[in-house]
Structures are given as C-alpha cells and as structure tokens.
C-alpha cells in the first residue's frame, strides 16, 4: 500500500453511513502511551529518538494491527504528503511540522492510525463513521493489547499510564465526536452546546482538533478528564449523556427551520448549491461554508439527487494538499481556487 492510494477517495470513516451520521460525522478515540525506560520526547537525545522510532515501528509492523498497514516516515516525507495526512485526520498538525525521527502507521481502511514520537511515544487512534464509540474502543483496546504484549509501557500504580503532559495521565484516553451542527448555528443557539459542554467538563474544538476554530459548522467535542474515570465510564457518558443531548438540540433546531422558516432554509440550501455548481473561483473557507449548508439540505430532504457520501468526499478532497495531489502539481492562489471550483463543478454536475 502506498500513500498515493489514499488520495482520490475518502477513508472508511467518511462513508457517511454510520449511526446518527446526519449529525455525528465521526467518532474518534486516541490513547497516549509511552515506552518504559526511555525519557519522554522533550528529553530524548537524537539517538534515543531514532532508536525509539525504529523499535516502535518494528513492533507495530510485526503486531499486524490490520490486514495491510502503511508506515510513513514523516522525517523523510515531503511537505505535501504530511499535509495530506493532516487533512485526512491521520496525523496532527504539530506532528506534521515537528522535526526528528517520527512517523505514522495507517491501516488500509484508515480506521487506525498510530503516530510515533508525537508528544508521547505512541498516540494510537481509532476513527469511525457516525456514532460508534464502543466499536472504536473495542478496536483500539485490542490493538493496545497487541502492542503492549511486545512493549513495556510506562505505568504507575497511582497515576496510571504516564504521559508527557499530566493532562493526559491515567487512562491516556481522548474520546471525541465530530458533530455537524448547522441548524443550531443558523438559529443562533450554538451557545447551548458550549454551555452543555462546559458543564460536563468537555472541550469544544474545530475541525482539526486543538487550536483550531470551528469552520463549516463542525464541532469536535472531547473529554478533558483522563484520571479517576475508567475508559468505559468516559465512553458511556458520551454515548448516553453528552451526544444525545446535543443531537436533541440540533434536531429541535432543524425542526424549527423546517416548520417555521422553510423558505429561508431552502434559500440557504439552494443558494449554496447554485454557487457550488456555477462558481469559477472557490476559496477553501467558502467551500466549507457552502458544503455545510448543502449537507444540511440533503439531510433535511430538501435536496434529493445528491448523497451524503459525495458531500463528505468533497469536504475532504477540496482541501489544498488533496487538490494538488489530484491535479499532480503545485497550485497556489487563483490557480488553486480555480482548480477547486472546477473539481466541485465536475462532481456536482456530472451525475
């Protein structure tokens, strides 16, 4: 498997057919782990860092975490490839921009990605379509077991799995769901979500996690507490308390739009589709904004001839690195915006 095999389609998790996928784009679980008897990365020498990367890479590849696993050496990879992996949510922005020996192992369906030498020695991620936290946990738990049978993890009887930053210590787990909340945004009630999240000690972030703003009405909600609560408790809270509550808010807002503001709703949706089908220059932020409205229109049955998977793919493939990979050349400024507009027109008109 090569990195280029990923470029022209979306990963499993963007199929758009998981449970609750009209609101929940994806479920993600990541575990932070460190290898015993090595310093954390900020205190690793170059040699230690390189040895660690080799050791962890060999362990992952011999543990057969999936039927086919791609390992990308990020120190050697060109910028565009690292950017592509960020756009696909397989590595973090800091991991793309860091220096020194580091990498990522990706399963063929992209449901598993293991970052090596990010903030912790290992950051294992399971990513699935829609609301599938328990399935993600089952999968990641097995992979964690498989790796642990070959690696000594840093563990403390009182503090649990030890991490470079104590905000992750304990279970080392970060559970997050990516939500599409266009109706709450349109009705001006998105504050409700922020308040609910704050009450439950959850963080609300943008499309690419820490330090990113919410764009295209996508919000990532994740736990902050990692100590004193088991993995199952955290996941269960998400599944039974947090997510249903927010889904309920969004459903309610969608109903209000459908019943009381039908014309305004259709105007938003049809305008978005009209621009996407006709524009000749498209900036990435405008694309996100318009695709968000289009996605809402499809979900609410206002548009019937476009499916969710196509829209999800457009979100992914119109990003800068993907677009440049697809076109096979470096594109900047108006050239890139023109290529994006053309790509969208082809996908939306040619059916």
């Amino acid at each position: 498997m090569k990195l280029s095999d990923l470029t022209n389609h979306a990963g499993e998790w963007l199929r758009g057919n998981g449970p609750m996928s009209e609101i929940v784009i994806s479920s993600r679980i990541r575990l932070a782990r460190n290898v015993a008897n090595y310093p954390f990365l900020s205190k690793c020498s170059r040699v230690q860092r390189t040895n660690l990367e080799h050791k962890v890479r060999d362990t992952i590849l011999s543990a057969q975490i999936s039927s086919e696993t791609l390992y990308v050496d990020l120190e050697a990879a060109p910028d565009i490839d690292r950017q592509l992996l960020v756009e696909r949510h397989l590595i973090s922005k800091p991991h793309a921009q860091a220096e020194g020996a580091r990498g990522v192992a990706v399963s063929k369906d992209e449901s598993i990605a293991i970052m090596v030498n990010e903030e912790d020695h290992l950051r294992i991620q399971a990513l699935r379509s829609g609301l599938q936290l328990e399935e993600a946990w089952d999968q990641i738990n097995k992979i964690d077991d498989a790796l642990e049978s070959k690696l000594d993890y840093s563990f403390h009887p009182r503090f649990g799995y030890l991490t470079a930053c104590p905000t992750n210590v304990g279970t080392g787990i970060r559970v997050s769901v990516m939500l599409h909340l266009p109706a709450l945004k349109l009705t001006g009630e998105i504050e409700k979500v922020f308040r609910a999240a704050k009450d439950m000690r959850l963080a609300v972030r943008g499309l690419y996690g820490e330090g990113t703003e919410a764009t295209g009405d996508f919000y990532q909600i994740s736990n902050q507490t990692t100590l004193g609560k088991s993995e199952e408790e955290i996941i269960s809270d998400f599944k039974h308390v947090v997510v249903p509550k927010i889904i309920d808010y969004e459903h309610h807002a969608r109903k209000t739009l459908l019943n009381d503001r039908t014309t305004a709703l259709d105007d938003k949706v049809c305008r978005a589709l009209g621009i996407l089908r006709a524009a000749r220059l498209m900036a990435s932020e405008e694309t996100l904004f318009l695709l968000s409205h289009l996605r809402m229109g499809v979900n609410l049955g206002r548009i019937k001839d476009i499916d969710l998977q196509k829209i999800n793919e457009l979100f992914l493939l119109t990003q800068p690195a993907h677009l440049q990979k697809l076109k096979g050349k470096k594109l900047e400024g108006d050239l890139r915006r023109a290529a994006r507009a053309e790509f969208i027109r082809e996908r939306l008109n040619g059916q």
């Binding site: 015993a36 964690d144 049978s149 009887p157 104590p166 304990g170």
Partner: protein, 167 residues
Amino acid sequence: MGCNMKCDNCTKQATVHLTEIHNGKKMEKHLCEQCAAQNEGVPVKGHTPINELLTNFVLAHSGLQKETGAACEGCGITWAEFRQAGLFGCANDYTSFEKDLTPLLQRAHEGANHHVGKVPTRRGGTGVPMKKQIDVAKLRKELTKAIEGEDYERAAKVRDQIKQAEG
C-alpha cells in the same frame, strides 16, 4: 506612582514598588534593585524575562521555592521548568514531583488523583507486579462505591486492604 521616585534606602532610582499589608495597614515601599534584592529577597536580575519573573513570584508566594531546586534524577528537570514548559521529561518526574503534582492533577481531573481503568498486563517498567496493581485499582473502585452507598463499615475495611496492598 511617580516615574523618578527615589529609593527609600538610598539615592538611586526606585524601580521596585512593593505594597504590603500588616495588621490591616497598607504599607508601600519603593526600592532600587539592589536594596530590594538585599532587604526584601525579591529576585531581581538585570534582564529577567517576564515569564521567569512571574514564575519566581508565584513560587515565592506559594511556599514551593525550596522544592524547585530539586531536579529529577532521571531527566534533570525541576518543578519550575515543568511549570514553564507544561511537559515532563521522563516517567520518573511523576514520582519526583508527586507532592507538587497532586493538587494540579486534582484541578485538571475533577478532583481525582488515582487511576481507574485499564492496567497493562506486563510490568511496565515500574517493577511493581501488575497483579497487585489490578487489585488496588479494583479495591479503590469498591471503596468509592462503599462511600457512595454510605456503607462506612465496608469502606473502612476496603481502605485497610488498600493500605496493606500498597505497603
């Protein structure tokens, strides 16, 4: 505050301004750098970066100053360095700075300071047999349950078992 104020102790320009409250009475002191360093123990250096100044100030007032000198045997970082960077240098820091770390963890993790959840089956380089760790984690859960259920007799028993297991 005037910008050409003289030091209370000598004739140099006062650059350190202190407000102290003694028995409800507010007292202001204006000192030059040297007098401040000598008389008040205020750590003033030539060009101290603002974050270091703040760290020193916070540490001086939280009674943690003594500990900041002690560096971790494993990676050599001090508590102050950790507070500045937000990252530990090695696993041993959790043991070296356990005392200072506890209140911090409680703030970050809803009052918790004990791990509950998955435990690796191998020894994880801690030298502590995992079986024992599993038992303690399980006991701790039991303890929480007993307290929540107001079964204090049971809670006391479990607490003693934890103490015994932890040696």
